[in-house]
């Protein structure tokens, strides 16, 4: 019953709109007949081929750059006794909770041709480095924004490596880089790949950042521009959408193939995570230098945003001319609606995500329902659907649908934004819920049933409480990322009073006097989401401690 309900929801709000988009891509724009002519137009146009190449190039190089940021942070904090490891790990995740386009604005001011860094470089050395020129800018902003995906996954993988794996190699004479290259990195590979695939897909599909950096020769911006400036019936937008989806699915599939049979972390029993080693003083200096450099770089959008929100005029200068609180008063006077909307939308979306995620996890791992794996595949497939495509698909699907209690078409109802956010973030929450249910011993549930609890009572009183940590983790990830999402919402917001934060910032940033206020709103957004994330983490930690006996039982099982 629940399974069918979830399947219906996924079909209605994910599969159907996407199919609708795919269908249009195969329609002759003149006659409406099925055809491949749109695809042949796509591949014969050098503009689209270049866009495809650029998207691929940007996504690939972003993965490389994100790896360079993530590997040292993950490695140092998991391998060495490093004061501030927790702080570093936390700060390392902060870039994720920043609307990427806001980051782009701040990065332009800091790293642009005439940004702070280049002004200084020019003054000192007479050089100018094109950090933000064209595709470079997209790569830099994207890799900074998305590298936490690699950091989180790689850190988890490194923590899960049996200490004896490394010690036995040392015992056989291996050390240093060779040890890392031959033993540690291959063992952490599955975690790394999972993160890298996510970064690739996200960058490949992202719209906001290239748009804000005036880079249009990429696939997602081309799709958006075709739809927004030529019209919703131009087939090219749909063709590009199909190509985006196909490519993302392909990337997901390849990473799954590469990872198949390589879930090393659970293979070995006994032994804790990697041994942490003390650093020699000079090593410590080196490591801290690297860590501080990386953190400065990845937090520079936040730094820039902060300066922008307090600065009066910042124009062709290293720092703002003076500082003021005026932007905050201006912002607070008109933006409380954006904040409440965001909390409501992201909160509701995250709530749906964990409810559906828990249900799917339970159905897949605890029941024998036929086709249950497909629920998982469908929900995870949402990863491969770009926000633009969801936006287009919803407009296309729900514009002619009316509900009695909704003022206007369903596509312009605020709740549709919630649904879009929920569908987009479902894969994150689902993975957390699946991880959680895998850690709950079936024996615990059997014990409850043996004592007379029905299945429903058991789920409610045993399974879900034991999954709390994972469910909350899923909630946070969904909430934090949904609250800064723009690409799907920008197409679905029908009136200003329904607009979430990201949209509000975007709007502020459209006027000369609104730049500071927009930055102030951005700072507020980051602070709210960071606090929400931090407190939920605290709750999870407390929950974990409370459940310590449960963990022992699990290990025995």
């Amino acid at each position: 019953m629940v399974g069918i309900a979830i399947a219906v929801i996924l079909l209605a709000f994910l599969i159907f709109p996407v199919l609708k988009v795919i269908y249009v891509a195969f329609q002759d724009p003149d006659t409406g007949a099925l055809t491949l002519v749109n695809f042949s137009d796509f591949f014969s146009a050098s503009l689209f081929r270049e866009s495809f190449y650029n998207s691929f190039y940007v996504a690939s190089v972003s993965v490389v750059l994100a790896t360079l940021f993530a590997v040292p942070l993950a490695y140092f904090t998991t391998r060495f006794n490093f004061s501030g490891s927790v702080l570093i790990q936390t700060l390392g995740i902060v870039p994720l909770i920043m609307p990427p386009f806001v980051g782009a604005v701040a990065m332009k001011l800091l790293f642009g041709t005439n940004g702070s860094v280049n002004l200084l470089l020019d003054e000192w050395f007479g050089i100018n480095i094109p950090f933000m020129e064209g595709l470079n800018g997209v790569i830099l902003v994207q890799s900074i924004h998305y590298f936490p995906f690699i950091l989180i996954n790689l850190s988890a993988a490194l923590n899960n490596i049996d200490r004896a794996m490394e010690e036995s190699a040392q015992n056989l004479g291996s050390r240093g880089m060779r040890l890392f290259r031959r033993i540690v990195f291959p063992l952490a590979m599955p975690g790394y790949l999972a993160g890298a695939a996510l970064v690739f897909i996200k960058v490949f599909d992202d719209l906001g950042t290239p748009l804000l950096l005036d880079v249009n020769k990429m696939l997602a911006p081309q799709a958006y521009l075709r739809i927004s400036s030529i019209g919703i019936s131009d087939p090219m937008g749909y063709v590009i959408s199909v190509i985006l989806i196909a490519f993302s699915l392909f990337a997901l599939w390849t990473s799954m193939l590469a990872m198949r049979g390589k879930d090393y972390s659970t293979l070995q029993k006994g032994g804790g995570g990697l041994a942490k080693r003390d650093l020699r003083p000079w090593e410590k200096v080196g490591c801290y230098a690297v860590v501080i450099f990386i953190l400065l770089l990845v937090l520079s959008p936040h730094l820039g945003l902060l300066l922008l929100s307090f600065g009066t005029i910042w124009s062709y200068s290293v720092l703002p001319d003076a500082y003021t609180l005026a932007h905050y008063t201006q912002m607070l006077a008109s933006s409380s609606q954006f904040i409440t909307n965001t909390l409501l939308y992201a909160g509701l979306a995250a709530l749906f995500d964990v409810v559906i995620g828990t249900a799917i996890a339970y159905i897949v791992w605890r029941t024998g329902l036929p086709g249950r794996k497909w629920l998982d595949y469908m929900a995870t497939g949402a990863l491969a659907v770009p926000g633009v495509v969801i936006g287009i698909g919803y407009l296309r699907t729900f514009n002619d649908v009316n509900l009695p209690f909704v003022d206007g078409p369903v596509a312009s109802w605020w709740f549709v934004i919630v649904i879009a956010l929920a569908i987009r973030r479902l894969p994150y929450a689902l993975r957390a819920c699946v991880a959680a249910i895998q850690q709950v011993s079936v024996m615990l549930e059997e014990a409850a049933e043996n004592l007379g609890a029905t299945t429903q009572r058991t789920v409610w009183r045993i399974t879900v409480p034991l999954m709390t940590g994972g469910i909350l983790a899923g909630f946070i990830t969904s909430f934090a990322t949904a609250s800064v999402e723009l690409s799907a919402t920008i197409m679905l917001v029908a009136r200003e009073s329904d607009a979430p934060l990201a949209f509000g910032i975007y709007e502020f940033m459209q006027s000369a006097s609104g730049r500071g206020a927009g930055a102030a709103l951005g700072v507020i957004a980051v602070v709210i989401v960071t606090l929400a994330t931090y407190f939920s983490h605290r709750i999870i930690e407390r929950g974990k401690q409370r459940q310590a006996p449960g963990n022992v039982v699990r290990e025995e099982a």
Partner: protein
């Protein structure tokens, strides 16, 4: 948000009641949903003032880029929820009028003249009304120009000079209604071929083509590039916000009214009418003088309250009187011009820049020398850059334009060719031409 839902429900009931009672006077209640391309500085000021005057009415501003706003009204026309369209570019209103998405309205306020500059303020057919005037011009960052030791540009032609290579920014006409008007003005003023040549010569100096019209003042304000082609209020309001920038109207510019219209089947027509009257009233016009808004009022009397440096098109005839703007011509080829600009400039800006650089260098090397062969090569290079894929006649042809209009309501409408296919062919030609121009110019330089 349940409260919000209630508001919506409540508002619907109230406005329904208002219609039922058929009050002839202005409705004092309900909602007003305005689709607008204007920045929050403008919209919030008018929203606040209007709501203060009519306390029962709640105004909602739905921000869309002009082109996106047109698409939005077209897509939702079957189930319209918007009351008004409020934007600058008159040709955007022409497009909506052509699609039968607007209704006529007769203004009650008096004192508004027929024309500003050479442009009629109101739609002669009465569908949309001008409430302010805007002109196009050049804004620049004073710190930037000083640091790079660049002269201040005064005319469009200045922007073609090699000294500005890599320092200019502009938006694309397909993204910004105001930019479209700028492009069209030059095309009409200089003629099709010469007009495009002019634009390409300027675009060769571009640092970037921004995705949004506001991207240009934003870039100039922050110093990402020094000079921008913008609509006046962007320049003036940036200056008013304290940025080290300035703005000038070149001699050849059009002054066009910024407009407002009521959408067909508007749910709150009475409120929409009240809003138009308010915009044109004395208080509404004076709001335009606010330094953050800075638009030119259409009521000449309002200028008495303006600061002394405020341009007055009703007195200063040098502003926007040179070009007689042909709205019909603009409307007919609206999509083709947008598409051509994107294919020749936006998406090929790197190639165009490379060719321009090569030509500028060859010309610099040529200075003071006489070398007929090299001069010929340079001229050929220029010609290759300037070539357009289609003629003016083709661009204005109705059948050709159909390819670019994708309102496929009836399958019986026969169109030969698909937009993507046509654009693909243009692109191949443009790309090859720019590459050839670069080659020719480099060859010329090597001969000098």
């Amino acid at each position: 948000m349940i409260g919000h839902l209630k508001n919506v429900l409540g508002a619907t009931l109230v406005s329904a009641a208002a219609v039922l009672l058929a009050t002839p006077a202005i409705a004092a209640d309900g909602k007003l949903i305005v689709v607008t391309s204007y920045p929050p500085d403008t919209t919030t000021a008018f929203k606040a003032a209007f709501e203060k005057k009519y306390p029962g009415v709640k105004v909602e501003m739905l921000k869309k880029k002009t082109s996106a706003g047109i698409k939005y009204l077209q897509e939702t026309s079957g189930n319209n929820t918007s009351d008004m369209f409020w934007a600058s570019a008159p040709d955007a209103f022409e497009v909506l009028k052509g699609d039968d998405l607007l209704v006529k309205y007769k203004v009650k306020v008096t004192g508004i003249p027929e024309k500003v500059g050479s442009f009629p303020i109101n739609d002669p057919e009465g569908y949309y009304k001008g409430f302010a005037a805007s002109g196009y011009g050049i804004m620049w960052n004073t710190r930037y120009l000083k640091a790079k030791k660049l002269p201040v540009p005064k005319e469009w032609a200045d922007l073609k000079k090699p000294v500005y290579f890599g320092h200019v920014g502009m938006s694309a006409p397909s993204r910004s209604g105001t930019t479209h008007l700028t492009v069209e003005t030059v095309l009409q003023g200089e003629g099709w071929a010469k007009g495009w040549a002019e634009w390409k010569a300027i675009a060769g100096n571009f640092k970037t083509v921004t995705e949004r019209s506001f991207g240009v003042p934003d870039g100039v304000n922050s110093g990402q590039f020094g000079i921008g082609v913008v609509i006046d209020f962007f320049g003036l309001s940036s200056k008013a916000s304290g940025f080290p920038v300035d703005f000038v109207y070149p001699t050849v510019t059009t002054l066009v009214p910024a407009n407002i219209a009521i959408v067909k089947n508007a749910p709150n027509q009475h409120n929409a009418e009240a809003f138009i009257e308010f915009l044109l009233s004395k208080e509404g016009q004076e709001l335009l003088l606010n330094p953050k808004i800075r638009r030119l009022p259409v009521n000449p009397a309002t200028y008495a309250k303006a600061p002394s440096d405020f341009p007055n098109p009703f007195k200063d005839s040098s502003i926007g009187s040179r070009v007689k703007f042909n709205l019909k011509l603009s409307k007919n080829r609206y999509n083709v011009v947008n598409s051509l600009f994107d294919v020749m400039i936006t998406y090929r800006i790197d190639e165009l820049r490379a060719a321009t650089k090569a030509i500028q260098e060859a010309e610099a090397a040529m200075a003071g020398k006489s070398n007929a062969a090299a001069a010929k090569l340079i001229a050929d290079a220029r010609a290759a850059v300037n070539a357009t894929p289609i003629t003016e006649a083709e661009a204005g042809e109705e059948g050709y334009n159909k390819i670019f209009k994708k309102r496929r309501k009836k399958a019986s409408v026969k169109v030969t060719g698909r937009q993507a296919e046509v654009e693909g062919k243009w692109d191949d030609m443009v790309k090859a031409n720019y590459a050839r121009a670069k080659e020719l110019a480099e060859k010329a330089k090597s001969m000098l």
